[in-house]
Amino acid sequence: MLISRMLYLAIVSFACLCCVHRPEQAMPKKDINEVLKENDKQLMSIPGVVGVYVGMLKDGKTLCLKVMVEKKTPGLERRIPKQLEGYKVLIEESGPIRPMRNPSG
């Protein structure tokens, strides 16, 4: 009886250890360029948005999506998602984007 109980505990512990130590099978993320392609039109249709691009977080290693806006507003912060398919989305106030030629009066 005691041996059976100990055996049982050993099996349960081993199973639990397996569960604990089995590496998680994380779902592979979609390529960030694909995520951008699927979402850029919708983001660009938001008034005040002038661009979107693949950028990098300040850690210098993690890719993210950046949404360029003429001016950051609470309305835009509410409307633009904070993440898309696992990628962080950051709002960047760029101002309007213009051709860089120089008129002189």
Binding site: D40, V54, K58, L63, E92, R101, N102
Partner: protein
């Protein structure tokens, strides 16, 4: 009894309000991230401990500071030399957390003492003695309308079927598409001048013809803002030399995030920065002539984004500049600069530009260089 209940309720509400405002006031004071703020102080402690080790371990680590990360949390900032030989490896070696504090990486130019620039230096606006170098002021000879004249940069030299062309932007050479304020539009064969009208007080007589426009009409229907002008014999250095950069490579290179780049242009001269974004979709509004009305808004895709803090890298008049990798000799072309804001600049990927130009000129377009 009612009076007593009312008094108790009033006291309760007042107490809550006092507590609320007290908490709000004190939290406002605590939020200022000064050096005495507990969160800042914590990062400083880690900074003091690790900075000597970090800087001794890698000559391309220029220093550290306390800053904020993308979530607004305090973080240790590590400055890495953008010109470092092993930039990528340097960045990868820096941990994301040190001593429990977040770490941000900031790629930067080396720090210099800000002494005043000595007199002399290279002018990107003066009329040159032929054969001229590129990276200089230039434009369409007739770019005068509505009380203004316009210009940009003669950025680089390309070659198609043994013929050399100055390359700049559509909106520098051929954007006058309505009779409008000056009664003319840009046409094949029109002179391209150096310097541009904006640097000769709008008087074309003070400039020199260096090339003849070959209209490509890249906009609004294509994904590049490019135009070319066929070189007039003897007027342009056949090596394609660019002011303050010299002769470039005939090869091109793809952009990557963090890539150190430089350019030579009419307004800001030789400047450097780094690529901060790829695959950008952006919207740019174009005029129909110099100081004219709106012509169209173009949405580009797949664009390169470059840091442009306080317009230090690219400013009005630099349009048409060639962006190359920031190396000392034979730099490879990365992109054609054409738009921006006070915080970022935008370039067409160079291979897309050359492919388009080649298709229009019925040959293979290559950069003129080594």
């Amino acid at each position: 009894m009612n009076t007593g209940r009312f008094a108790r309720r009033t006291l309760l509400v007042s107490s809550v309000m006092v507590l609320f405002f007290t908490a709000f006031a004190s939290s406002n004071q605590d939020e200022l991230p000064t050096v005495t703020h507990p969160k800042v102080h914590r990062v400083i402690k880690v900074q003091e401990m690790v900075t000597p080790v970090l800087m001794a371990s890698d000559e391309d680590i220029l220093g550290t500071a306390v800053g904020q990360d993308d979530d607004g949390e305090m973080a240790l900032v590590v400055y890495v030399n953008m010109n470092g030989k092993h930039l990528g490896a340097s960045i990868q070696r820096i941990p994301s957390m040190i001593g429990g504090e977040r770490v941000n990486v900031e790629i930067t130019e080396p720090f210099y003492a800000m002494a005043a620039k000595p007199p002399g230096g290279v002018s990107h606006t003066a009329k040159q003695t032929p054969p001229i170098q590129l990276g200089t002021s230039g434009g369409w000879r007739y770019d005068l309308a509505n009380g203004y004249c316009c210009g940009g940069t003669l950025g680089s030299l390309i070659q198609v079927n043994t013929i050399q062309y100055i390359m700049s932007n559509y909106h520098v050479f051929e954007a006058d598409i309505v009779a409008g304020g000056n009664g003319i539009v840009a046409n094949d064969g029109d002179p391209v001048i150096q310097p541009g009208l904006i640097d000769v007080k709008c008087n074309a007589g003070s400039a020199q013809n260096v090339a003849a426009l070959f209209k490509l009409s890249s906009l609004p229907n294509n994904n590049v803002d490019v135009s070319v002008a066929r070189v007039i014999s003897g007027m342009v250095s056949p090596t394609g030399s660019i002011l303050e950069i010299g002769t470039i490579s005939a090869s091109t290179v793809e952009a990557f995030i963090g890539q150190a780049v430089k350019k030579s242009g009419r307004t800001t001269g030789l400047t450097s920065s780094q690529v901060s974004g790829l695959n950008a979709t952006i919207s740019v509004q174009y005029d129909n002539e110099c100081a004219g009305g709106a012509a169209f808004t173009k949405t580009f895709t797949g664009q390169i984004i470059i840091k442009n803090g306080v317009s230090r890298f690219l400013k009005s008049g630099d349009s048409g500049s060639l962006m190359v990798e920031n190396v000392a000799t034979n730099p490879r072309a990365v992109g054609l600069l054409y738009a921006g804001s006070t915080t970022l600049a935008v370039a067409n990927p160079i291979n897309e530009v050359l492919t388009f130009v080649g298709s229009k000129l019925r040959g293979t377009a290559t950069m003129v260089g080594n």
